[in-house]
């Protein structure tokens, strides 16, 4: 059996959850490959945790279907689903030792003691907590408790492991180390992982693919690179990584859209379906700064602005440029580029091909505040 075969595929189809007038999940569909590391990413209240609770069986769907390994499990209660869950608050049983906690799911499954002891030792080994089997949870640090909780959730070899912001209560350094540990364990187990977080960096570090949630819907599913390079909505573009968005009076000609911003005209490839207001999205490393004298090369756009912040980062510099219409652009430049200081008047330049034309949606701005 190869590692990947141990994970189960998950199919969420048209999942909807309503609480009275409030729609927590709005027709969500998602396919997760066997053994995949899928992260559900989004701001709080976006439906990512609801989705996890639905898969775990803690929350019933109003409508829709849910299948693990090809079989619908909508009708199964949580305790019959055989899915591992790791909670943000650890949820270790305080009256049991670490060993007893990890053995708990095996005892429930009627496993005899020698086999149980072997499995527990293996799971504790995997999370590097083998020396703590006789301690009580209260005697452990947060990071240690979460590792025990992880061991308890994988000890019964579930085909699917759900993790609900498992590192949310830990400090940054510990979090970064545990991220790598989780990645390693995922590789070794081959189990399908579904991971909930609101931290985009964590999502990029861990995931094979990321599903970006917003207001009870999935905005986009893809690899970290796809989401960063090819966002399909402004919300995704703003949630993943830094970006500059430009708005202005739009005109479409052929397969090109041009925007007029404070008297200056820029162009972007593509056009939007009728009636949608366009936004031009630019990643900081695609932008460069130049003094107004420098001639423009073909296929480049240029906007005039003033440097309002200049930060030296060691590996390069980061600038904030206030444009004439008042919007702020974020620029990252390499060390070789000529330095600028606060107050300098500069031209903000980029290649037309590097600009991304997206539909403006006020949803994106709402959640960024």
């Amino acid at each position: 059996m190869t590692a990947r075969e141990r994970g189960a595929a998950i199919d969420i189809k048209g999942a909807t959850k309503r609480y009275g007038n409030f729609t927590a999940l709005d027709d969500v569909s998602l396919h997760i490959e066997p053994g995949e590391f899928m992260t559900l990413l989004g701001p709080s209240g976006s439906g990512k945790t609801t989705t996890l609770n639905v898969v775990a069986g803690f929350t019933d769907l109003t409508s829709g279907d849910l299948a693990v390994g090809g079989k619908s499990i909508v009708a199964l209660p949580a305790h019959k689903r055989n899915i591992g869950v790791v909670f943000q608050h650890y949820a270790l049983f305080p009256h049991m030792t670490v060993g007893k906690n990890v053995a708990y799911p095996l005892t429930l499954r009627g496993m005899d003691k020698p086999a149980r002891d072997r499995q527990v030792a293996r799971a504790l080994d995997m999370v590097k907590m083998a020396d703590f089997a006789h301690r009580y949870p209260a005697e452990l640090s947060g990071g240690q408790q979460q590792r025990v909780a992880l061991a308890r959730a994988i000890v019964f070899d579930p085909p699917l492991l759900l993790m609900d912001e498992p590192l949310g209560a830990l400090d940054k350094k510990l979090r970064e180390w545990l991220q790598l540990e989780i990645k390693r364990i995922h590789r070794e187990l081959g189990t399908t992982f579904v991971y909930v977080t609101h931290d985009q960096e964590e999502a990029l570090v861990l995931s094979d693919r990321i599903a970006v949630f917003n207001q009870g819907r999935i905005e986009q599913v893809g690899t970290g690179r796809q989401l960063y390079d090819e966002p399909t909505t402004l919300f995704v573009a703003k949630f993943i990584g830094e970006s500059t968005s430009l708005r202005g009076d739009a005109q479409t000609s052929g397969n090109e859209t041009s925007l007029t911003i404070a008297g200056q005209k820029i162009v972007a490839g593509g056009k939007l379906a009728g009636g949608q207001k366009p936004v031009v999205l630019l990643r900081p490393e695609k932008l460069s700064l130049a003094s107004a004298k420098t001639p423009l090369t073909a296929g480049q756009n240029s906007l005039t602005g003033e440097v309002s912040e200049a930060i030296y980062l060691g590996s390069g510099s980061k600038y904030q440029v206030t444009l004439r219409d008042g919007s702020v652009a974020i620029v990252r430049s390499s060390l070789e580029a000529a330095p600028f200081s606060i107050g300098d008047t500069v031209d903000l330049r980029w290649s037309v091909v590097d600009a991304k034309l997206l539909a403006d949606d006020n949803r994106a701005d709402m959640t960024m505040t």
């Binding site: 775990a56 803690f58 209660p77 949580a78 305790h79 909670f87 708990y104 429930l108 019964f156």
Partner: protein, 262 residues
């Protein structure tokens, strides 16, 4: 240092209050070893005769065992009902829970005499006066609030999310209760049980109303004995009960303080 005289005064005052609170109980102990058949204080001489009388006189012994039997049954019944009620109340989400809790606690607040009259009136109709059933029902009612308070305190610090975790690991609701909830609220249940036992064991007001010559509890026997003749056996009984209840209640307090700390 300037406050020293004030501090000494405060200490003396506290000591006085402490003596005042404990003295009536402690007076009983030397009196129980009195040589003469009198309740005079200070006692004269030393003898174990009143203890001997308690353990040989059938009136005293039977009332003692009546009390043990009633209190034992009450402890079990009140703990069962009170624990279930606490669990239900802790899971109720709407506003009715507060009102329901208040109603369940009322037997502790309503004056004993008022309850006793009501119970007596009802018992006359149903021939429950002077029966073990009658005693157990009345005392259980009085003991339930103590169980609810003790168990609710335990549930207050119990993390319900542990039950969700148990479900995810494969435990059905009953198994979850047995392996996770019950062990974690056990200290509260145990201290509720002890308080329920003691509540019944030393209850006198209701007992005086519903007693009969055929079924007397120990407090009733003490009361009738001391009003009929000044039998110093009551001081020996008092000492025994004092020591026993002190032990039980301290055990209860220790257990419940342990549970809220963890």
């Amino acid at each position: 240092m300037r406050l020293a005289p004030f501090r000494i005064l405060l200490g003396l005052f506290c000591l006085l209050v402490a003596v005042w609170l404990v003295m009536p109980t402690l007076v009983i102990i030397p009196m129980s070893f009195n040589e003469k058949k009198s309740l005079a204080f200070p006692p004269s001489g030393f003898s174990w005769q009143w203890y001997a009388n308690f353990f040989t006189n059938p009136d005293w012994l039977s009332s003692f065992f009546n009390s043990l039997r009633v209190a034992g049954l009450v402890a079990v019944a009140a703990t069962l009902i009170g624990t279930l009620a606490s669990l239900g109340l802790s899971r109720m989400k709407h506003a009715g829970a507060g009102l329901l809790r208040a109603i369940l606690i009322t037997p502790m607040i309503v004056p004993g005499v008022v309850l006793a009259i009501g119970i007596y009136a009802v018992y006359l109709d149903y021939q429950l006066v002077g029966t073990t059933t009658g005693f157990v029902i009345a005392h259980t009612m009085l003991a339930i609030p103590f169980v609810i308070i003790a168990v609710s305190a335990s549930l207050e610090v119990f993390d319900v999310r542990l039950e969700t975790a148990a479900a995810s690991l494969g435990a059905d609701r009953f198994t979850t209760f047995r392996t996770v909830t019950l062990p974690l609220i056990a200290p509260g249940i145990l201290s509720g049980l002890l308080f329920a036992f003691v509540t019944s064991f030393d209850e006198i007001i209701v007992a005086l109303f519903i007693t009969s010559p055929y079924l007397k509890t120990l407090p009733v026997q003490i009361f009738t004995s001391i009003t009929r003749d000044a039998d110093p056996t009551v001081t020996a009984v008092g000492t025994i009960i004092f020591i026993a209840t002190t032990l039980i209640i301290s055990a209860g307090l220790i257990i419940s303080s342990k549970s809220t700390r963890s």
